[in-house]
Symmetry: C2
């Protein structure tokens, strides 16, 4: 019982409450209207001309003049087991912890989430469905001198019994160094004011919108996955492995991983000169750092400049799933990424850049996923990555069904994990990487009943 409510029951009810066709139409109209009113103009500018940002002469690192927000530097990676075995690359530093928070209420026994149609400068498609609050510390401490972040007070003053989720989770660890967000869900009374651009959604309705390309943003997906995970009942039905075995496997993989990283000045990154030279056409480069001048009508500040990381290719994030003794399982990869706080986090079966890779360098299971016939692709939607740091970053999210006796002989760094196990582990930090959390949200959408009981 939290705040007088039976939260697991309210979640079950919420997950089964979905839109009718006409209701869904009405919500899409609301999105379209938000898009029209969210007047924004994003213009690319050279990094050397970004207002409020400068390139440190001694390191070449790009930083905000306040020393806050984030910076872009370099990282050197040694990973004997990797391809290649060592490399250098730019990486985003954001030591401060941001808040990704959803306010929820219970109406007629069903939980509802207060979401906003929010525009971020890196969004490729206008507004996206975002959490109630999505703010860095510099943001909410108003380093930019702008307006206060709406609803933020609910997250900092929440009594413990109304805090349904509060867990630190990572962000893209190939792009950011040890970046962490505080994923929060806080229960409020029904009478909280709904500001313009905000609206209440059941979990089932958000799950419905997940099937539309690019509509539900990355932050919503991770918080939602944590909400269902944190309130998943215990399930001791034996799956492929006991949870204790899986924890030991994660620890063993971490202990045996000899990859190491060192932060380096931007000027020491091979093939990059300064961030300003970042858009050069270097072969093998997977992303660029670009600058934007942003004008927006409805934000805390109306105009600002900032750098964004722009991937050169769309990503692919895919789970192969199958039943083991009747319980849905996904094939999970314990995967090194340079920005991880601990060297590995759990990743989808496949996490790769889209596009042809030479034979011999193709990620494991990629072909199994891409060549799966249509009827085995349970989920296939393009999702947007966070638009406050990444420009037009998208990845195709796939869930591909296999038979129980497929893929039984997997490499040491892969394991079959049941959906209830995956969900329960979301109560702890740093087991699941962002792409896995995002896909777990999609698994919940396909099969909430396997998680919520």
């Amino acid at each position: 019982m939290s705040g007088g409510y039976d939260i697991p029951a309210a979640l079950r009810e919420s997950a089964t409450t979905r839109y009718s066709a006409s209701e869904e139409e009405a919500v899409l109209d609301w999105f379209a209207a938000r898009n029209r009113s969210a007047s924004a103009r994003i213009r690319e500018v050279p990094l050397s001309e970004l207002q409020g940002w400068s390139i440190a002469p001694e390191t070449g690192n790009l930083r905000h003049d306040s020393g806050k927000f984030f910076s872009v530097g370099g990282i050197a990676v040694k990973h004997r087991a990797g391809t290649p075995a060592q490399w250098t690359q730019p990486i985003i530093h954001q030591p401060e912890v941001g808040v990704l928070g959803i306010l929820v209420r219970v109406v007629d026994g069903a939980l509802q989430c207060l979401m906003q149609a929010k525009l971020e400068p890196g969004n490729h498609n206008g507004v996206q469905l975002s959490p109630t609050v999505q703010a860095t510390r510099s943001n909410y401490q108003r380093v930019h001198g702008g307006f206060a972040v709406p609803y933020l007070e609910h997250f900092f003053d929440a009594p413990p019994h109304r805090t349904l989720v509060d867990v630190l989770q990572s962000e893209h660890a190939s792009w950011c160094h040890r970046k962490r967000n505080r994923n929060m869900v806080v229960l409020v009374d029904e009478d909280v004011e709904v500001r313009e651009g905000f609206r209440w959604f059941t979990v089932g309705q958000i799950h419905q919108l997940l099937a539309r390309d690019g509509l539900v943003n990355m932050c919503s997906r991770t918080v939602l996955a944590c909400l269902l995970g944190c309130h998943a009942p215990r399930d001791d039905t034996p799956g492929a492995h006991s949870t204790a075995e899986l924890l030991r496997w994660v620890n063993a993989t971490r202990a045996e991983c000899t990859a190491s990283t060192d932060l380096i000045p931007f000027t020491d990154i091979e093939g990059w000169d300064t961030p300003a030279g970042a858009a050069a056409q270097t072969p093998g480069r997977t992303f660029d750092i670009v600058g934007v001048d942003v004008k927006m009508g409805d934000r805390e500040v109306a105009q600002w400049n900032q750098p964004l990381l722009r991937p050169r290719k769309r990503g692919i994030a895919a789970f192969i799933v199958k039943p083991v003794r009747g319980i849905p399982h996904a094939l999970v990869h314990a995967r090194f990424e340079p920005g991880n706080l601990q060297n590995i986090e759990l990743s989808p079966t496949v996490e790769a850049a889209d596009g042809a890779a030479p034979a011999g360098e193709r990620p494991l299971f990629l072909d199994d996923v891409l060549r799966a016939p249509r009827e085995r692709r349970l989920f296939d939607t393009e999702m947007a990555e966070e638009g406050g740091r990444y420009m037009h970053a998208r990845s195709r999210h796939l869930v591909v069904a296999a038979q129980e006796d497929d893929f039984t002989d997997t490499p040491q760094d892969y394991r079959w994990i049941s959906l209830p196990q995956m969900s329960r582990l979301l109560r702890h930090s740093h087991y699941w990487g962002i792409s896995a959390r995002s896909l777990i949200g999609c698994l919940h959408a396909l099969n909430a009943s396997a998680v919520l009981g």
Copy 2:
């Protein structure tokens, strides 16, 4: 069932199997004999004269010529909420993960642990009861060119169902930067050879020896705590807080902690020149870095030099415990230390240096602990810290009983946590700091039945 055994039952049986007075006498005789045969000579030498070690001219850092083992550098800390709010200090760097492993077998339904009477150069009292294996990666990869580490093969070749514990845990985060050890327990068949200096012990027998000053070493204490914790049955009896609430509290405390650290060259540490100047009489200094020349008869190598960290004062680690609804609880402190991988880990109620501190600077609850009458001191033994890195480091371990209605109004960074909850969290990395794990081992010794059912 692991390896055909019911491990929780074997642990319960093991915890209740204790020595008779004459048996305990015999074991202490064995220790005394080991001490006589462990011929060792530890001689202090200036750091600048350590064979195989050198002080890097550009940083003043002390490092092994192989680049392996460990090094000593500096760290700068900013911690607005702390006293002082910022400081610099030396810190040990050991990026590689060591193995602390205990081999166990089941005899007559009771689990037995293969322990060794081992001498480390920093031990103040000769041999101590140590895990089967206690080795850094450089050690077991034989960077020193010496003999192989006995029994090591059992830990690397163990099949999953025989691995009872495999969890990464931290070491003293005021002295070491993100040092982690792999705490392992592996089940073997009865017929493993018992080498000289090794002996089988039940958990109850080790618990008995814990009551003797300095006998059971730090590594044994943490692995043993993890063993009982990893196999503690679930217990949903409501205590002071639900486990979900406690996890959210840990995350909130981590997210709200603004302390930051930067690694710095040794020469930038205030009040220290180079490690070689480390024994100077600077007021406020809590430890020195000293060099030793070690000669030992029965180790992988017979002679070596190394630096050790020598605390100036004995430490105090104390839990205040009380029953909440009939379940034993301890008052736990979410505490920042500069070497933590995440800024805070869970610590004892009091973790401090022994000795008089000026009024106003005395740690919270220290006086409650030190002034507790004898009948409320359930445990009061001096324990040794690890002798491979620390010289003559000891801390007084205290468990002090309070009444259910004592200490109900505690600061935000303290929480009452039940013994079953404490134990279950040991299945995950980085919730519990080393001193808390060591004290949890003592709580188990006092009240194994509350954990093992």
